[in-house]
């Protein structure tokens, strides 16, 4: 009991077959428990993985703040992790015990119509509770009700499809970012349909926005403008992606600012890398985050649609609830805008993005600012959520990681 006073781990009913795992207790409340039972094999193509690194994603904050429907108390979060294969099911062929793998956040069957066309973020056979969403690790029952990777062990379904063996020359801290943030940022830039010389505006300088800015350069953008409200993140992205970065708190109207910067035409593409907790509009915030009568605050999309050039492209990778949002639909029509969006199809990006790491174009692990023991997960969430101590992305390390 004395131990409990010092850290947030609860020691009740500990058995040998138990493990440490995060435990969601309600909005803004999470803890690590020691008495979570070990994951079991449920399907012949399952694998059990011992987690070595687990990240907290910006989209985990939407769960943490209670904005994602059907997020049940007792859930284990975490969809960005690497780990060592401990056990494989009878039909697993592509993995063996002892492999160190990075696991994409999407759970994909590999054989449905969507998986066949590499739309692994839209698999039709992994999330019974929702036809719209696919299965993700640790992301509410709307995405299948799977236990996540902010734990010592995790069950990985379809082990022959998702997990990617980490090559020897790739550091595990770089590899873990291949599970979500880095491919999502890349795909955000790809969906923005950037042509050489284009001006691209990116809303959000979190890890995904940072990777999107970098990828926009690879795709040939002439000018990359990142908008956020945290100066330390703006400084980081300016250096990391060699782009422009501005604080919208210093602007009267960010849309007008972007118009002025682009000869009153607007950027060719705008990217929403924020999602449903965007600051910047009191109305959106109250309706979306405080009252939940819309699926989160859609400020970033609102700005993106209004700022982008006529005939331009808006790319959305920010996470919103499935209900509905306040966005200027009329202006999508008036301006002839193409809206592209998707959950990143992580698996198809990994080999290409590893090549960029190998060629020294990027060191993804630079965004990892805080290394926190899994037992102190409550502090890590709070640190990340409240942007304390210049946090960009925390990485959780389970005690059995080594």
């Amino acid at each position: 009991m004395e131990h409990r006073l010092q850290c947030s781990v609860i020691q009740v009913g500990t058995k040998e077959a138990d493990m440490i795992a995060t435990n969601y207790r309600g909005p803004y409340r999470i803890r690590a428990d020691r008495n979570k039972s070990m994951p079991r094999m449920e399907h012949p193509n399952d694998a059990i993985i011992r987690v070595t690194r687990s990240l907290i994603c910006g989209s985990d904050l939407h769960l943490y703040h209670g904005l994602v429907p059907d997020c049940r108390v007792g859930s284990v979060f975490g969809h960005e992790f690497t780990g060592i294969v401990e056990e494989i099911g009878s039909s697993v062929q592509n993995l063996k015990v002892g492999d160190h793998v990075v696991v994409p956040f999407n759970i994909a069957c590999g054989s449905c119509l969507f998986c066949q066309h590499q739309l692994y973020g839209n698999c039709n056979e992994t999330a019974p509770q929702s036809a719209a969403a696919a299965g993700f690790f640790g992301y509410s029952h709307t995405t299948g009700g799977y236990d996540g990777g902010q734990a010592e062990y995790v069950r990985v379904p379809f082990a022959d499809v998702g997990p990617f063996i980490i090559p020897d020359d790739i550091d595990v801290d770089d590899a873990v970012l291949l599970a979500d943030a880095y491919p999502t940022g890349y795909q955000a830039a790809e969906m923005a349909e950037i042509k050489p010389g284009d001006t691209v505006a990116i809303f959000g300088a979190g890890p995904v926005g940072i990777f999107a800015a970098k990828a926009a350069q690879w795709l040939g953008a002439g000018r990359v403008i990142v908008i956020d409200k945290e100066d330390y993140r703006l400084e980081f992205v300016k250096r990391f992606a060699q782009c422009e970065a501005y604080n919208f708190l210093e602007m009267d109207d960010p849309v007008l600012f972007l118009k002025r910067e682009t000869d009153f035409l607007g950027p060719d593409s705008c990217i929403d890398a924020v999602g449903c907790e965007a600051s910047g509009s009191k109305l959106q915030g109250i309706l979306g985050v405080k009252m939940l009568i819309q699926a989160g605050s859609a400020v970033a999309v609102q700005w993106a649609i209004n700022a982008v050039k006529k005939g331009g492209t808006v790319s959305v990778v920010g996470v919103y609830g499935p209900t509905a949002n306040l966005i200027p639909l009329g202006n999508i029509v008036n301006k002839g805008i193409t809206v592209r969006a998707n959950q990143a199809s992580v698996k198809r990006h990994i080999p290409h993005l590893i090549e960029h790491i190998r060629n020294g174009l990027i060191k993804p692990s630079e965004v990892l600012t805080h290394r926190v023991p899994l037992e102190e997960v409550a502090d890590a969430y709070h640190l990340f959520s409240s942007k304390l101590d210049h946090c960009i992305k925390p990485v959780l390390i389970p005690p059995r990681a080594a």
Partner: protein
């Protein structure tokens, strides 16, 4: 003016993926040359489904998670939610209501299992000691949210006849 911004260009790696054919996500619908890793035409069905499935699906998916089965009052409300399609507000708003009730059930469950919920510790407020934060603002926000939720429920859900949604 915008056209004059074609870079000169000092950015490391600029334009390496300018050619669309090297982009892994282009075109969006594209079969993989290496295959997906699946060695089945249809996966085996995982057994033991004890949850709800969307009305927009004929049944459960081939695999599913079993993290927390529906239970108690919140479970009954979730059951009601799953009687509406995903296209209706009633489905999602009812689920959010169930989530809030589930929080209270979680507190009761903790206490009955001899765990004293660390309401401040679970919020990570331990770290506030190290950094100057406006804790009062958070308390105010949370109380506003708690006060508004029942109103949201009564105004937006209770009055409507769900079958008309």
């Amino acid at each position: 003016m915008q056209e004059s911004f074609i870079p000169t260009n000092s950015v490391h790696g600029w334009g390496v993926d300018a050619d669309k054919s090297v982009r892994p996500n282009y075109p969006m619908w594209k079969k993989s040359a290496q295959g997906t890793g699946a060695h089945w035409t249809e996966p085996e069905q995982q057994l033991g489904f004890n949850d709800f499935h969307s009305l927009e699906r004929p049944g459960p998916t081939k695999v599913f998670g079993k993290t927390v089965a529906p239970s108690g009052l919140s479970g009954k409300i979730r059951k009601l939610a799953f009687s509406y399609g995903e296209g209706s507000f009633a489905h999602w708003m009812t689920l959010i209501l169930a989530d809030r009730i589930n929080v209270v059930e979680g507190l009761i469950d903790d206490v009955t299992h001899g765990v004293m919920p660390g309401l401040l510790k679970e919020r990570g407020w331990n770290v506030d000691k190290q950094f100057k934060t406006k804790r009062y603002k958070r308390v105010v926000n949370l109380s506003i949210m708690a006060a508004l939720l029942p109103i949201v429920y009564f105004v937006f859900l209770k009055k409507k006849n769900p079958s008309n949604l």
